[in-house]
Symmetry: C2
Subunit: 506 residues, 2 copies
Amino acid sequence: MGKQQKNAISPTRAEDYPEWYQQVIKASDMAERSPVRGCMVIKPWGYTLWENIVAHMDGMFKATGVKNAYFPLFIPVSFLEKEAEHVEGFAKECAVVTHHRLEQGDGGKLIPGGPLTEPLVVRPTSETIIGDSFSKWVSSYRDLPLLINQWANVVRWEMRTRIFLRTSEFLWQEGHTAHATNAEAIERTGMMLEVYARMVEDYLAMPVIKGRKTAAERFPGAVDTLCIEAMMQDRKALQAGTSHFLGQNFAKASNIRFQTENETEEFAWTTSWGTSTRMIGGMIMTHADDDGVIMPPRVAPAHVVLLPIFRTPEDRRQVMDYVQKLAAALREITYCHRPVVVEIDDRDIGGARGWDWIKKGIPLRVEIGPRDMAQDSVFVGRRDHAHRDKKAMPREAFVAEVTAILDDIQNNLFQRALLVREENTRQVDNRKDFYAWFTPKNMEKPEIHGGFALSHWCGDRACEATIKEDLNVTIRCIPLDASAESGQCICCGKPSERRVVFAKAY
Amino acid sequence: MGKQQKNAISPTRAEDYPEWYQQVIKASDMAERSPVRGCMVIKPWGYTLWENIVAHMDGMFKATGVKNAYFPLFIPVSFLEKEAEHVEGFAKECAVVTHHRLEQGDGGKLIPGGPLTEPLVVRPTSETIIGDSFSKWVSSYRDLPLLINQWANVVRWEMRTRIFLRTSEFLWQEGHTAHATNAEAIERTGMMLEVYARMVEDYLAMPVIKGRKTAAERFPGAVDTLCIEAMMQDRKALQAGTSHFLGQNFAKASNIRFQTENETEEFAWTTSWGTSTRMIGGMIMTHADDDGVIMPPRVAPAHVVLLPIFRTPEDRRQVMDYVQKLAAALREITYCHRPVVVEIDDRDIGGARGWDWIKKGIPLRVEIGPRDMAQDSVFVGRRDHAHRDKKAMPREAFVAEVTAILDDIQNNLFQRALLVREENTRQVDNRKDFYAWFTPKNMEKPEIHGGFALSHWCGDRACEATIKEDLNVTIRCIPLDASAESGQCICCGKPSERRVVFAKAY
């Protein structure tokens, strides 16, 4: 492949970004479409990545006092209806269970039998079913705060799906907390956003902007929605996690009441917060290149692949022995709370072997042949930059430096992504420039536009709607660290006190 | 409580075993019924236990080369139908999704809308949907073996449910493998049964009998089903895990074909194997007593609770300081691959505090008051035996010995359970004794019967059916280690070559 073809993935990002995304996933063997509409199969290389993300994030949650629990997959329709905005937000995309068996129909075909008295919805999110439990668990201020998380599958019946980014079923975590005061619930909402930002930046190497959603973009039923937003390589935004302050809305809907220290009765203040397998889609679109996926070392399914090179059976024996010892030495090393994960690929498939691992995005590829062995050296390729530039290193130095190299790759990926965001983010201060910024330069590539615009907004929902209607651009967030600054709304020209982030989004 | 009431749980095991089971779970705060029919809520104390089981078992799977993946929750009805026995076995208890949204019906009530062209079943098990993926992943003998596991929720619409033992939704793992030869698939079936036996015996401290199911008790569609069977304290059997050799049945149903080394085409040989949250029910019924749950230390959600005792604020400050240091010292210690987990309970609720932890089954309770502190000693209660016999120990000795004490508890629990099984297992050699063995001694307590009977069986399905009909007793398994022995069938008197395990079962 190396010589005939310039890149492993066709089309390239520049040629057709959406199709490139599908091909990158296919080539990496991370996941695939299933025969069930909108659902994906997560293959071992993708699932191991998810396991690593889960392990790190779960530890972060527990460090803040959160405990895991598990609630039913099914939600009675009457539960969803308890919060009016909430049901409005999810009713249109629910999988509905109506029967509890299959029976023989005409011609022996199996058809649904045993109708349920009340239909059940497969959870799209669990505020209402968890709220029901909370209402039983909480009776006094002494029972608060209640800090619960659930790792689960959820279903939202999407019309247009894309692997990892938008699928009918996806894996996620949903945190749900209840507090005795408004202030404490607000503090928890911010705390969990901070956990998400750390996870996504420090582990997935994706720089994010922390902010607040406008009323139009809030979670259905929430008082306030905080979010982290990342820029993909096509300059569109991807929301990588949200944390909601629910006020007393859901406590009232689910009757979560408690006796205060003063013996009055009060509804609890609740929060919910979630991240999902969507993060993986974001990670791919942040780092992958025209040769395939690039895995940030801290979450990579494996860190190093050893590629023995041999011609004769005698070579093979000796090289494999050397490779096995090197693997053992590497596995003794701890990187980011787990042993260095080493794959050995001794398939006899020529150049395709190295390319397979490039497409999978493994951080380090190490070739070892009889000549390297004779010199006690290894031939190392890194996935973070020009990966055809492989470098010989003494074996001992490689083992000694492997964690430093992995950290260097991790850091490079983050810095490179940050640069992409900075290069494609601009303060835009008049309407004409704003419309130009979001107008594709080339009509054949509608995905190529300016990127993020930091522009003033008066706070009026009508202006937000106009821009969405005209450009398919939304306010991704009002950055939490935005300093007060006077200006004019990019849409109507009325006074504004701060800039917000406008972008096209996934 | 201590003096007024003899036991923490009412009724006791002897008074009403099934109700005792429900009360033990309630008192332990491990799980509860949900408002969704047949579904449970697993609370943090129960879920942490599950997390520990998962972590150990997942490591064991991976050590045999298995990788995790994730497949869709939904299975099209046409997939289930591909294997005739399989669909027959599951059609009667399926949750069926028939619509993909909710819409306003008469009077504003939400009703199912958007009918699906083909109904989807919420997976009761995933052979058919995973088989579809396997058929795409396998084309050559080089792609085999394929060793996949999934941690997931499944739904079987049960009419009579009991927390952990039989619920409509439960959590489980399902392993699915495909092989190039019959022999290799059979070997894998046995290997995974061995993993299950090790997990259940070494971690859950439940002795098991490894065996083979009779044709009547096999997994629908399997060629051979291996199982592990444990005895509960009411002498009934509980199946704690099964491993199925599926022959080429499911490969033919799902079209999993491969090219052999000789370039012929062949269907793969497959296996599947599963364990679930049901193990937790088994663990409770094996070890719990009339004061509540007893957690085997190796999987316990926490190992030690520290109970500071104080009267004055000054006492409190000093004792809490001492307790915090002790907790830190204990947390430095590794027990069974994780740090010793320490809870500190400083609630001011009198004697109820210690009882709470007894009911939760924490292995060690440690009381520390000003007097203990002055002597640098701690007052230790163990959950494996007479837990009112607490014992003073030098703090230093306790820290030094804590892992040995935990191991001793683990071992005691196993030995005690083994004794229960041995005391209630008997070789029964004539029909009259057999019927007497399974006839309750006391009609008011139908649960009290002999236990396991090791008896001869001719191999005839009719005899098996007669005994089931007459006594509600089934052949739990044909033990794998049964030595050939001539005898007469317990039912018909015809010649038999080996004894099998007969029992009432959950």
